[in-house]
Structure formats: C-alpha cells, structure tokens
C-alpha cells in the first residue's frame, strides 16, 4: 500500500510542479517544497495510510492547477518593481562592457539574474544574445581594423608603386559580410535591452508565458 500512496503523492507533486511552470524558479521551488512538507506532515498524522486516506488528503489540498492559479493571480496586482537594480542591470548589460571591460557587463548579468522581475527565459535571452553587450561588436570591429593593415612599397627612384600587400586578407569576404554582421551585432544588444525593458512593464506573471 505504501507504494501506491507514494505514487499518488509523487504524481501530485509532479503535476503541481508542471502547473507552476512560468513562475520564477525560486518561488516554484518554495511552493512545491511547502506542499511536499504539508503532505508529509499530514501523512504522519494518519492512522493507517491507505489509498483512500491519501486521496482524501490530496483532495483537501486542492487541484494543482488551482494552487498554481492562486500563485499567479495573487502575484499579478503587485506591480513589477522596476527599481534601480533592474535599470542598472539593463544599462550595464548594454554598455557596461565599454565602461569597464568584461566586469561591467558581468555585473549586469549578476543583477539580471538576481532580480525577480524577469523570467528565466528572459534572463537567458539577456545573457546570451551577444554576451558583452555593445562592447563585443566594438571590440570585434577594432580587431578587424587592426588586422587589416596594408603596406604599400614605393620605388625610391620613381615613386611608383611596386607592391601593395594587405595582411588579414581573409577579411576580403568580410568586406561584404562585415557591415551586415556589424549591424546585426550592434542592433542585437539594443533590441535585447528594449525587449527586457518592455517585459518590465508587463503584468508580473501571465498564465501562459510561452505565448509571448
């Protein structure tokens, strides 16, 4: 009988965890953990742990969907706190790497992940869509320019051009791709910042975060 009881409880908790998807991970964990310990406490108080008792216990807890709905609904009226931390995170993600190479952007990432104003998915976008922010395209641009140094030799007598050689010849293709890539690399961090900023104004938790 214990195995049936365990299975029922396991199914319940798994279904709850699924229903809670879309909530920030810490809250999701807190809730499943609380419900799990509630079940454990309630089970400890049962005289004989048969299937009917366990089913009653889980019925009293309510449908996982109902608990998840409460978790979302109650969170909604609370305006997202787009405080100094979120604003600083956005600024640092975009230009932090320019102000203070690597470290500036990295602090932005830390603030992004510490904040509960964004979902995990949004945080992943903020972190991986051009790591380094605007500093990355600027740095790459700088490298490309220095790599493409040309030297021209002139005949000392006639002043005519003998040979002209450019190092970094592989950048021939980059002549075409370069500008396109540069625009993409420059725009991506800007769009990411706009995306994250707009997300701040959305109600805290939507029932279906996947549709955004």
């Amino acid at each position: 009988m214990t195995s049936t009881a365990d299975r029922l409880v396991e199914d319940y908790l798994r279904s709850l965890d699924r229903e809670l998807s879309g909530l920030p991970r810490a809250r999701r964990r807190e809730l499943t953990e609380q419900i799990a310990s509630h079940i454990a406490e309630a089970r400890a108080g049962l005289e004989n742990e048969d299937e009917a008792e366990i089913r009653n216990l889980l019925d009293r807890l309510g449908e996982p969907a109902e608990i998840a709905e409460e978790a979302r609904e109650r969170a909604e009226p609370r305006p997202r706190r787009a405080g100094w931390m979120e604003i600083l995170a956005l600024i640092l993600l975009l230009i932090g790497g320019i102000v203070l190479p690597v470290v500036g952007w990295f602090v932005g990432v830390v603030l992004l992940w510490v904040s509960d104003a964004w979902t995990t998915r949004e945080k992943l976008v903020g972190t991986f869509v051009i790591p380094g922010g605007l500093a990355t395209p600027l740095l790459l641009g700088g490298l490309a320019v220095t790599a493409e140094s040309c030297s021209t030799e002139f005949d000392p007598m006639t002043g005519a051009e003998i040979s002209s050689s450019c190092t970094g010849g592989s950048f021939q293709a980059a002549d075409v791709l370069g500008p396109v890539l540069a625009v993409v690399l420059l725009l991506a961090p800007v769009f990411t910042t706009i995306f994250l900023a707009r997300r701040l104004r959305r109600p805290a938790y939507q029932p279906n975060p996947g549709s955004a």
């Binding site: 807190e30 609380q34 419900i35 454990a40 009293r60 807890l61 978790a71 109650r74 609370r78």
Partner: protein, 114 residues
C-alpha cells in the same frame, strides 16, 4: 450550493490573508499548523494548498517572515511570524473590518441605528 460557494469565495478573497495574519499574531506557526488553524473555522479554507502561495506572497510583501526550525518528529519546518508591518496591516484591518461589518450589518439586517 454553487452560488453560496461563489459568495464565500469572494468574501474569503479579501479577508483570508488577514485571518492568516491574525493566526500569527499571538505565536509563530508552520504551514501545516496554520492550515489546521484556518481549517478549524468552517468555510475559511476549501483548498488547503492555496494557503501556501498566499504565505509566500505575504512573505515577499514583508508582512510575515520565516525561519527554519528543527522538529522533533521529522524534517525542519518553516515557521512564520508577523513582522512590524504585518502587525500594522492587521491593526488597520481590524479597525476597518469592524466599521465595515457594522455597516453591512446595519444594511443587511435593516437596522438604521449604528
């Protein structure tokens, strides 16, 4: 029965969190204990599990705080207690509630005095 349920659900919506605060006013409690306390009042809780999102919100809003404590019978428990602003919120609610209750009583029972 359906209409009565809906009515209760609506009334509960606005008051449940203060009932939780009131239960925590005199002593700290862990989740299961709190749910039992609320369950003792008929009609206060229909789905026990929904208390936990509420507790979590109260904690994030700074009205309650929690500490883990060892239990003699099992794993550690998260105990909740009121913060100063929780106490203040409860005091405000008590004041507003008695006025509100009197006003509703007067209207519903057709009394004009109060």
């Amino acid at each position: 029965m359906g209409r009565q349920d809906a009515l209760l659900a609506q009334m509960r919506r606005g008051t449940l969190q203060y009932c939780v605060l009131a239960l925590l006013a005199s002593e700290e409690r862990y989740g299961f204990d709190l749910v039992r306390g609320l369950g003792a009042v008929n009609g206060m809780v229909t789905s026990e599990g929904t208390i936990y999102p509420l507790l979590s919100r109260l904690r994030r809003d700074g009205l309650v705080e929690s500490t883990w404590r060892e239990s003699s019978t099992g794993p550690p428990r998260r105990y909740y207690r009121l913060t100063d602003s929780g106490r203040e919120a409860l005091r405000d609610f008590r004041h507003e509630w008695s006025r509100f209750r009197d006003a509703v009583d007067a209207l519903v029972e057709g009394r004009e005095d109060t």
